[in-house]
């Protein structure tokens, strides 16, 4: 059992770290988030049918709740210096946590709508609303990032192929 877990950690920690970073926008918090999710997985390891899905669900759920706590304390995640990346980081910081998570799921992890909805624990319609609102918000603050999306439609069905 322990060997399986350690193999899983070696193979997937990098991907989890990237997702966590996109969700939090903060390197230290991303590390903490990944460790928290892996610890939770270890505790239930013998009973997990799909560890990958479980860890991702923990990552998204914890990231959303953490972002809410930060917002209550009037703090914002700090983005990294880079060009498009920096622009994206600033834009993501202005989104609601679920909107941000929806974008990460759909554009970084390339999840289908149903997968993304399942991970976020929302229905398909809600996911579409979240994604559509997030894209519109991105378009307002960083139109370059959505240049190849806009023009198709402002509704999520058209925006996201």
């Amino acid at each position: 059992m322990r060997d399986g877990f350690e193999e899983f950690v070696r193979a997937r920690t990098g991907a989890f770290a990237r997702t966590a970073y996109l969700l939090t926008g903060d390197r230290r918090h991303a590390e903490e988030l990944v460790q928290t999710a892996l610890t939770a997985a270890a505790e239930r390891w013998t009973r997990l049918d799909d560890p990958e899905r479980y860890v991702r669900r923990v990552l998204y759920a914890r990231a959303i709740s953490r972002w809410r706590r930060l917002r209550r304390r009037a703090q914002s995640p700090v983005g990294p210096p880079a060009e498009r990346g920096a622009a994206l980081a600033r834009a993501l910081a202005g989104l609601r946590p679920r909107q941000r998570a929806a974008l990460v799921l759909r554009f970084h992890e390339d999840c289908s709508e149903s997968e993304a909805a399942e991970i976020l624990g929302v229905g398909l319609a809600a996911l579409r609303d979240l994604t559509g609102a997030a894209v519109r918000r991105l378009h307002e603050v960083a139109p370059d990032l959505t240049s190849d999306l806009t023009g198709e439609t402002e509704e999520h069905e058209g925006v996201l192929s």
Partner: protein, 437 residues
């Protein structure tokens, strides 16, 4: 690939390299086990408290209240019965004890198991209200005893008088004069408590140790007289007449009557056989009532002249068979009321233990009449003798609530799993350490 996806990829490249700590799996599993154990413990504690609080209890209905008297029957108190100290319920009609099995008695050797109780009392006493079926537990001294005052208000406890109406104690009269000194051939004096008891109507109290006696008014506590007498190894019983003018002592092998100045009025061998017993043994007409018994025969009432010690007639009272002892506690005319201690086989041993009953002895009757029978297992019984011929109806008993019993027992039960888990953890660590070494 859209611009947005490219931006996400660029941003993700700045993600930190996460290195989970070594032993993450083991640490996580251990924390999970600890959390589960804590949750189970908490659930157990909650369940225990819920069961204890929700346990079916008799309702608060009481009976009587208008008239004082002995109840028709007695029951055993519940384990969480309130104490006289915390919830006094007024004068008692009856005091009885099951010895070490009376509720809220401490274990003789493992006092720590009942850490929440005051003192160390291995044999508590149950008192039952004079007007209502209110049960309370009295504790004090090593064994509490059942020396109830004739009016039922006070109980002799640990060398003091416990006021059952207030839960407070009152000091008994102090003995004066030099402390008892054993002779060279006598048993050394080591704090033998002697005897304290009431006069028949409860207007006086007598305190005796191995060489001193004091008689005082009650409840005033004012000393009426003191006297000393030669050191005695054993004081079995002390009886005074209602006027407190003398005291009759049952010693090792004789009965002695002392005057107020300590001089010996008369004495008789205890083996004649005369045995003075019970607070009402000295009748107002001057007869000192005792017991006579042939070898292996039943007890019978007999009498001596209190002034001279000469045998006098008392009439034909019914014999009391299979008794280990008898105390005359009250008179109504020529009808005697007595606590008879029947001999019954012991519960844990083959030794006989006394099972007391209150009986009425009517001259000319063929057998004693049982007036009050305590619950099975009772070893000591006393009644408020002023009300010995008054009866009141019995209703649902009211035991009160002893919060400290809930708290103490609950914590004790809650600690058991903690101690067990701690022990197992310690064993496991020891085994691990030894295998690693």
């Amino acid at each position: 690939m859209s611009v947005l996806r490219d931006a996400f990829r660029e941003l993700a490249e700045d993600a930190p390299e996460v290195r989970p700590p070594a032993g993450l799996y083991a640490a996580a599993r251990r924390r999970r086990r600890e959390r589960r154990a804590a949750a189970a413990l908490l659930a157990l504690a909650v369940l225990a408290v819920a069961v204890l609080i929700g346990w079916p209890r008799p309702g608060p209905e009481r009976f009587g209240g208008d008239s004082a008297g002995l109840p028709d029957h007695l029951v055993l108190p519940s384990w969480d019965t309130a104490t006289v100290h915390d919830s006094p319920a007024g004068p008692a009609a009856v005091a009885y004890s099951l010895g070490e099995r009376n509720v809220q008695s401490d274990d003789e050797d493992f006092r720590i198991f009942s850490w929440w109780r005051h003192g160390h009392t291995v044999s508590s006493t149950t008192v039952v209200g004079l007007h209502e079926d209110v049960y309370r537990i009295a504790r004090g001294g090593y064994t509490t005893g059942v020396d109830l005052s004739p009016d039922g208000r006070f109980l002799m406890v640990g060398g003091e008088a416990l006021d059952l109406s207030t839960g407070r104690t009152r000091a008994l009269p102090k003995l004066t004069g030099p402390r008892p000194q054993a002779g060279p051939s006598s048993t050394p004096y080591y704090g033998y408590g002697g005897v304290t008891t009431w006069s028949p109507e409860g207007t006086r109290v007598v305190v005796v140790d191995q060489s001193r006696v004091a008689v005082a008014g009650w409840p005033s506590g004012r000393i009426e007289w003191n006297a000393t007498f030669p050191y005695q190894n054993y004081i079995g019983d002390a009886v005074i007449p209602e006027d407190g003018s003398a005291v009759a002592l049952t010693l090792d092998d004789e009965i002695v009557v002392l005057n107020r100045d300590g001089t010996r009025r008369w004495s008789r061998s205890k083996h004649e056989p005369w045995l003075v017993s019970g607070r009402a043994a000295w009748r107002p007409d001057g007869r000192l009532v005792g017991l006579t018994r042939e070898v292996n025969g039943p007890y019978r009432l007999a009498a001596l002249d209190g002034a001279t010690g000469a045998p006098v007639d008392i009439g034909a009272y019914p014999p009391v068979s299979a008794a280990m002892g008898m105390e005359v506690v009250a008179w109504r005319g020529d009808v005697a009321y007595a606590i008879v201690r029947h001999a019954v086989p012991g519960i844990y041993t083959q030794d006989e233990i006394p099972f007391p009953e209150l009986v009425r002895l009517v001259p000319g009757a063929a057998a004693p009449e049982v007036v009050l029978k305590p619950p099975a297992g009772t070893e000591q019984l006393a009644v408020a003798t002023v009300f010995v011929d008054a009866r009141r109806a019995t209703g649902a008993p009211e035991f009160g609530v002893n919060f400290y019993e809930y708290l103490g027992r609950g914590l004790n039960w809650a600690c058991c799993p903690v101690v067990l888990i701690g022990f197992l953890v310690m064993v496991r660590k020891t085994v691990r350490w030894s295998t690693q070494v």
